[in-house]
């Protein structure tokens, strides 16, 4: 079983090395790759100094495009599992092993680390939780499946989902939409409880000003996902 950790990084020089160190310690059986999304700080340089495998994007693509690069890399290299771990230290690599085991055992296509199954650790602000609840409800409405944490970035994808994400992955705020895409194909999505931390560096990709755009965009995206034709590209 070849397993890959995708670490999207945009100006994460403050925490990137720490994140990788932790991964090496907590999940040594995983390969990892940093996707440097055209950072303006020395994220890329730091990776080279510490001999961390890195893909430098020549243009800033945003979180979706960066993570998709990782999935394309995983598909190209024939990985069986790929998981996204954010470079800001929010995701605890401690759970990766358990997530990989669970994905294999359940034969699932996507396994999500949920903050809300056991309600432990950093729970996000009240407003954000309301938003997350709403997406959870919307996804249930259109797919009939209950996902408690559709916005979780800590998700491990099986081979089929890797191939799907390599061709079909939203550009911004990709999490709820891509979960819907997997569910709509009738594939298996599971959740296990995880504990998330507060970010140790960098800023959230969702500021207060953008939250309205976020809500509208993701709502539209989830609804559109339901009527979208299968993309002809092979996966």
């Amino acid at each position: 079983m070849k397993k890959l950790i995708i670490i999207p990084a945009y100006n994460e020089s403050a925490s990137i090395v720490k994140t990788v160190e932790e991964i090496k310690k907590q999940a040594p059986e995983f390969d990892y790759i940093v996707i440097n999304d055209c950072s303006t700080d020395d994220t890329g340089k730091l990776c080279r100094i510490h001999e961390i495998p890195v893909i430098d994007l020549p243009m800033n693509l945003g979180i979706g495009g960066a993570v998709q690069t990782g999935y394309r890399y995983a598909r190209k290299k024939g990985y069986d599992m790929a998981v996204q771990v954010d470079g800001d230290g929010q995701h605890d690599p401690f759970f990766l092993r358990q997530m990989a085991r669970e994905l294999e055992k359940e034969g699932a296509d996507l396994l999500i680390g949920s903050r809300f199954l056991e309600k432990k650790g950093f729970q996000s602000s009240v407003l954000r939780r309301v938003g997350i609840r709403y997406f959870s409800w919307l996804i249930r409405l259109v797919t009939g499946k209950k996902i408690t944490d559709p916005t979780s970035g800590l998700r491990i994808a099986g081979k089929r989902a890797i191939a799907l994400f390599a061709v079909h992955y939203p550009e911004d705020y990709p999490e709820p939409e891509s979960v819907t895409a997997v569910l709509r194909r009738g594939w298996k999505v599971k959740e296990i409880p995880v504990i998330m931390r507060e970010r140790s560096g960098g800023v959230s990709s969702i500021s207060a000003k953008q939250s309205v755009y976020y809500m509208v965009k993701v709502t539209m995206a989830i609804l559109m996902e339901c009527i979208r034709k299968e993309e002809k590209d092979e996966y």
Partner: protein
């Protein structure tokens, strides 16, 4: 419209046409995207040369003042052009994303190949 405005409108249209052709010739503008503008210039030229056409058409469409019909037509035409631009931008951003990813992946592979070679030669 008197003859003076007619001449002015026609002159502007001809100049616009010349600019369009010049830009296509110099590869500054793609013919594909210039077609809508050609259509617009042609429309302006026709209505500028035959202003009576506007009244006839306005009467046919049930619009009282011909000038309102012109405004409305111009507005609709602008919308079409703007929308086609949005489509083009979407297509461009998809291909730009693919290109960027592909370059990143290729650069990584190149690095790997170089490293392998380096290791082989240093053995």
């Amino acid at each position: 419209m008197n003859i003076r405005t007619q001449i002015m409108v026609a002159a502007i249209a001809v100049i616009a046409l010349a600019v369009l052709i010049y830009m296509i010739h110099g590869n500054m503008l793609k013919l594909k995207y210039a077609l809508t503008w050609f259509l617009l210039v042609a429309g302006v030229l026709v209505f500028g040369c035959f202003p009576s056409l506007t009244s006839v058409l306005a009467g046919f469409l049930g619009i009282e003042t011909p000038v309102n019909m012109l405004f409305f037509a111009g507005f609709c035409f602008s919308l079409i052009i703007i929308f086609s631009l949005t489509v083009v931008v979407s297509r461009l951003s998809v291909s730009q994303k693919k290109l960027t990813q592909e370059i990143g992946l290729l650069k990584k592979e190149l690095e790997e190949v170089k490293k392998e070679r380096h290791e082989e030669t240093s053995k």
